[in-house]
């Protein structure tokens, strides 16, 4: 069968879009990190921390990660079904609509049009655009699946299906609101219910954007890279269904010790602990796939992205449930510890896997080798070092502030005023900025290497064409 039938233009389009939004999101992130210890950088209303933070989170979660996910999904979908995208022009429209939506989202957030619900800050007209965009995407996913030439659906396709349906449910339910005008709306939920629905969404946005599709990539690109089958099909079945079932129960671990009913909090704790099992099911499956071939960590430059990435996923899925326990949340919640936790997942797991998947795809699509293995290695070590510096610093900062908030004098009065705990964090915030800078350099190396790989192949193709002519 002819591979060339497959349409990769939208895969490339989303790949370059991901890189573009990655740079924007990281520059904004660095600016925010600097504002933390140098507040004079809040130069204008649209550069003030409160507005800028949502540009950072939305830009990276939806601009970068989602574009990477769309890119890889269109690629894996075509390969695993051995079928070209059924509606290529619709996919092109998806690409343009996506970038227009992210650009408008960034502008509207800069302008302060913001619903305040974390990771669902976009106002209602943009919510409508996002839903249309998602439907356009889903149509191609299911049409291509329906027309597939490979009877059995591989593991990655399960995760893609789960993401496609769940994100739709999450996004619509949490964003139900009553418009006041074009730029302002109020949610239909009030108080405790609004918080509960929001964190059901917030946690599962992490689950079905930062976990499920990234696992789809892991299950596809790791075996492809190392040329070995996944260790256990049965383990992947158990991991998938239990993950998809359990995730939805855990949102309230973001709301421990708040006025949300206690039983919802307790159920969330129980399911969060349970989630360690399916998460580690994938981790173990990845490790055992490498059985007897661990030398690939040295000899194949891409392997380490996947294995170190899944390791951070494993650490993330242990740290998350433990910091949701009542006694620990009482100490850690609202501190930088949680900020460190999130960034281990995004910088250590999501970006590791997406960047390795992009390297793999550009070589396959362009039938070429990576521009520079040494630069890819440099990219790997820079983002690893930057991420570790960032997260470990934030954990320490969180432990320190948590301890200072709880410290009491012998007479029971508080030892530290709030501002004293803030003052103590300045050194950590400066180190965090340095970590972010190292990480950003790694990303610059990555983008250069990726673009050069894309270009080099164009040149060789041109040369080949001239020679035959």
């Amino acid at each position: 069968m002819r591979e060339s039938v497959q349409d990769y233009s939208v895969v490339r389009g989303f790949a370059y879009s991901a890189l573009f939004w990655l740079v924007i999101g990281l520059v904004v992130g660095l600016w925010l990190a600097a504002e933390m210890f140098y507040p004079k950088l809040n130069l204008t209303p649209w550069l003030s921390f409160g507005r800028l933070r949502v540009v950072h989170t939305n830009g990276l979660a939806f601009g970068f990660a989602l574009a990477g996910i769309f890119s890889c999904t269109y690629y894996m979908l075509q390969r695993l079904t051995r079928t070209p995208i059924v509606f290529p022009r619709l996919a092109k429209f998806h690409l343009y609509l996506f970038n227009a939506a992210i650009a408008l989202a960034a502008l509207s957030l800069f302008a302060g049009m913001n619903t305040s619900k974390e990771y669902a800050e976009l106002e209602w007209p943009l919510d409508v655009v996002v839903v249309i965009m998602w439907v356009v995407f889903a149509v191609n996913v299911f049409a291509t699946l329906a027309r597939r030439r490979e009877k059995q659906m591989y593991i990655s396709l399960w995760y893609i299906i789960a993401m496609t349906v769940t994100v739709a449910v999450l996004y619509i339910v949490n964003n139900l609101s009553v418009p006041v005008n074009l730029f302002k709306s109020y949610p239909i939920y009030a108080g405790v219910n609004d918080a509960n629905v929001q964190w059901w969404y917030g946690h599962n946005a992490v689950g079905f954007v930062f976990t499920v599709p990234i696992l789809a990539m892991f299950y596809y690109f790791l075996p492809k890279t190392v040329n070995l089958p996944i260790y256990s099909h049965r383990l992947s079945i158990i991991s998938f269904w239990s993950l998809v079932f359990a995730y939805l129960w855990t949102g309230a671990h973001h709301l421990m010790l708040t006025p949300v009913p206690e039983w919802i909090q307790t159920v969330a704790i129980a399911f969060s602990i349970f989630l360690i099992a399916p998460s580690w099911g994938s981790v173990v499956n990845g490790y055992y796939t490498m059985r007897g071939n661990w030398e690939l960590m040295k000899t194949n430059y891409l392997t380490k992205f996947f294995i170190v990435g899944i390791t951070f996923y494993g650490l993330q899925t242990i740290q998350g449930p433990t910091q949701g326990l009542r006694t620990l949340t009482a100490f850690f919640h609202y501190t930088d510890y949680v900020v460190g936790h999130v960034h281990m997942g995004t910088m250590g797991w999501v970006t590791m896997i997406i960047s390795a998947a992009l390297y793999y795809m550009i070589q396959e699509m362009n039938k070429t080798e990576v521009f520079s293995v040494r630069l890819a290695n440099l990219h790997f070590y820079l983002i690893l070092a930057g991420q570790l510096l960032y997260t470990v610093t934030m954990w320490i900062a969180g432990i320190q502030q948590g301890a200072m908030w709880k410290a009491t004098n012998p007479d029971g009065s508080l030892t530290y005023s709030f501002i004293e705990t803030v003052a103590s964090l300045y050194p950590y915030w400066k180190i965090r900025f340095a970590g972010g800078l190292v990480y950003f350099l790694g990303i610059v190396v990555f983008i250069y290497n990726f673009i050069m790989t894309g270009r080099a192949s164009k040149r060789t193709a041109l040369d080949a064409g001239m020679k035959t002519a």
Binding site: M36, P39, N42, P45, S48, F49, G50, R51, R53, G112, N114, T115, S116, E118, F142, L145, A146, M153, W158, I161, T164, T166, V169, V178, V180, N181, K184, Y186, Y189, A190, G191, V192, N193, D194, A195, N196, V197, W200, V244, F245, L248, G251, A252, L255, L257, T258, P259, P261, I264, V267, A330, V338, W405, A407, T408, L414, F418, I419, V422, Y426
Partner: protein, 238 residues
């Protein structure tokens, strides 16, 4: 295995599975009385306070300030009485937040005079030199837009008539522009001359901040008074 070769069935099965947890932990609670208790002590926001709340939302204050005091000894000592579900009956959206880069604000109402807030919003470092809060002086340079206020309170179902909304706005404007307003000096200092006789966004934000936790403090006060009556009554019996 059948389901792994049937995408539509697979999708359906996934939806059913995710809806189980969704239903039990988020949809069901909406219909339970425990998530929406009502207290006659908790009053809806006035028109000006609501506009202030929307400025709080617009500027993303919730990214650095929480609005839930947890039932922990040191937290109650730092901020005040811990948060109860009924306090949030009129909060759409909730503004509990997830990170305390700055302190919790659920009990900030009445903690400082208006003048403190004007000065602090204008230049946080002038009150706490190590503060990393952005300066919001420019809010005093923006006239408060009340064009949609009535529509907003209608959407939220606060039950005010159009006249009541206008009265509330006029009354608050009168309060902050009155010659004997306690925060007059600092308000005039941070507000450009052409806006001193009208309501600015900073006025509304201060009104909102002063509302936070005020109803709960009233409730506590009345409870304490009732308890005092009881003990006095008992000693008289003795």
């Amino acid at each position: 295995m059948g389901v792994y070769s049937k995408p539509a069935l697979f999708a359906l099965l996934s939806v059913v599975l995710i809806l189980v947890g969704t239903f039990v932990t988020t949809i069901l609670p909406i219909y339970l009385p425990t998530t929406q208790p009502v207290s006659s002590y908790i009053k809806p926001y006035t028109a000006v306070e609501l506009e202030g709340r929307d400025i709080y939302i617009r500027e993303g204050c919730n990214n650095c300030h929480t609005q839930t005091v947890r039932p922990l000894r040191t937290e109650v000592a730092r901020y005040g009485e811990y948060s109860k579900p009924e306090e949030f009956a009129y909060d759409r959206p909730h503004l509990w937040g997830s990170r305390r880069t700055g302190p919790d604000l659920a009990r900030v109402g009445g903690k400082y005079p208006d003048s403190w807030h004007y000065q602090h919003l204008y230049d946080p470092a002038s009150i706490s030199p190590v503060s990393n809060m952005p300066a919001y002086g420019w809010l005093a340079g923006r006239r408060l837009d009340t064009g949609y206020t009535f529509r907003k309170v209608s959407v939220l179902g606060y039950g005010y008539t159009r006249q009541e909304v206008e009265q509330q706005i006029a009354a608050y404007m009168e309060r902050v522009t009155a010659p004997d307003y306690a925060a007059r000096d600092v308000r005039n200092r941070v507000t450009p001359p052409e806006l001193r006789d009208t309501l600015t966004e900073m006025d509304a934000l201060v009104a909102y901040l002063q509302k936070l936790g005020r109803d709960v403090k009233e409730l506590e006060k009345s409870r304490r008074a009732a308890m005092l009556d009881k003990t006095i009554g008992m000693s008289e019996v003795r």
